[in-house]
Symmetry: none
Subunit: 193 residues, 4 copies
DNA sequence: CATGAATGAGATTTCATTCAT
DNA sequence: CATGAATGAAATCTCATTCAT
């Protein structure tokens, strides 16, 4: 399996750094290779083409979010706690990896519509877990049982996304993690029963 | 004033159509010129460069949102009503101009970080008006006076944005305008006192 | 019409020279452009891609052969004379343009099978005229009426082609034009009645 | 001697198949190695480089033609019969190995001028035997004693070559072997005394 | 004011060959 | 003898912008 070889992850990480430091369109394959300390051609032993690198970056990194969220869902007591810890986790992971935050919130969005559609399908898994939490809360009485789940999900994710993007655009000037509880509070107000 | 000449608006509208129909990266200056029925070179008599066209597209179109919002603020009775009508207006304008919706929600986001930063500064005026509504509501007791305005604003705008983007990505399959009240309801729950 | 503009022929001629002097695979678009005294990009205002240049080279140059042959067929008295003058013309044109001879006999054959198939369809028109001469001669009793026209044509063209290719491979060391009558004589012996 | 080891021939045969099935430019060293069931690097224990493989393909396969022709010369009664049997043999060998026919008539000609010059020098031995037959016939009165041997040889070989190439290009649609006598007849007419 | 032909910089990807194991 | 992962040079084509008419 290619993605188990050390160079696979090495290239993924190099891509994140190269994109964060140079911008999406200035992160040429040669720059990624250089950052990874390998030859240009070696990239193509592990990835079909440049787009494949970018999708893989998203898959690998989004994988962390998904795994964490699955853990949270498994261990959380109430739906409220699960949602709260999901937001906290999302903020924490990106606050602790500014390169990754820049890449996911700003740079990767410059990709073509085709690439973004693929990225979106990766994202869907994450959103499905979010839906699980919301529906559970609606059933057990923690959240408003009459709300439209899709819209609630869009509110939760849209707010998280906008909050983090603004933080990145403001060049990480303020502490992101401490805003998490406030974001959580507002969102919970919106959806609680 | 350049922007009062007929060809100025003609090019702006041509750009929206060209981008919506071809996608951001396939909307070459020559295509915009052709759509506008003028020569490539003529574009440069009205715009400094391609980026200038795109920023102007955003400025002009966002201008409609801002004017409408100013009107809403002037005429609205309560803060709650103002916020409600702002969301309704935002949804209505884009639901009625799918070309514009595609361009603002999907295509223009493929632009470079630099361009997006400029677009964001245009957006700021709109967000400042939103802040006005929120602060007014906090002062007059309609909204939670202890909430963080910035976060509340990000929730409102992030939710609107995410909702519309999803609608565009789903190829306008459902009716956007009728979801506005549900979105408003959730957001008001979140911020109300 | 693109092929009437002066730059069209200018590029075709530059391509012949660039290919003859550098070889097929070393005749990069940039070399052709330089030889033509224009910018690389200008090539693409006149040709769809590199392959299009090469096909056009063949079409334009083969056009001369075809036109000459049509003239010969129109004015020639006997089939024997027509065949004789066709061979003479073929040898003369290439003997007088060694660049072209190198390109058609050696370099262009390195092109991909796809390109060669296209080149072949251009060639077919020439071979159809040759067939006309042969059939006419079979009907009027100058040539053997029982021979297989396809094979006769392949003999005539194969011999011409092999003769000229050998001459080019031997770096034009001997006089090509004076061998024409001998070639003609042998071929006529082969097919005469 | 390298060419006596089993892997030598194994690679040669793999090359013919790989080229015939994939085309000259798509027959990468790695494909040839895979076809031969060995590792890429192993190729370089038996051949200096890729060009060396291709020349060797031609040498080995042309060797069959040469051996057969030597046999024919040794056993044939008249020059006419020898020529006749040479043509028949040439057609038969290629008609019975379509992979080889495709490779020699179409694919290998896409090689660089340099490679083709080397291939030609391999071909020379075959052509020298053909010259022998022609000269013998001129001396013993079977062939026209006044003809130019070089041109006669080019006619014979050019006709054979063109005939077979056309057959390959037409995707072996008709029977090649039965055309041999007709080709022979026309050629003999051309050179007989 | 308007035109549109011409410019030219710049990046992805392939594949023959090597060499440490 | 054999392997196969790694190398890195090299070329087509696009498109924003200019400027002579």
């Amino acid at each position: 399996m290619k993605r188990d070889k050390p160079k696979y992850k090495q290239i993924i990480d190099a891509a994140v750094i190269a994109i964060a430091e140079n911008g999406y369109h200035q992160a040429q394959v040669s720059k990624i290779a250089k950052q990874a300390g390998i030859a240009d051609g070696t990239i193509y032993l592990y990835f079909k083409n440049k787009e494949d690198i970018l999708i893989s970056v998203f898959e690998e990194k989004m994988g962390v979010f998904i795994e964490n969220l699955q853990e949270i869902i498994k261990n959380g007591e109430s739906s409220t706690e699960k949602l709260s810890r999901m937001i906290e986790n999302h903020f924490t992971v990106l606050a602790n990896d500014r390169h990754l935050a820049t890449v996911t919130q700003l740079e990767l969005r410059q990709s073509s519509k085709e690439l973004r559609l693929k990225i979106n399908s990766v994202l869907k898994e994450y959103l499905k877990l979010l839906d699980e939490i919301l529906i559970e809360g609606m059933v057990n009485g923690e959240f408003n049982p009459n709300m439209d789940v899709r819209i609630a999900r869009q509110m939760v994710f849209g707010t998280i996304d906008e909050t983090i993007t603004t933080w990145v655009m403001n060049e990480y000037r303020y502490d992101l993690i401490t805003t998490a509880p406030k974001v959580t509070q507002l969102l919970l107000n919106g959806i609680k029963n």
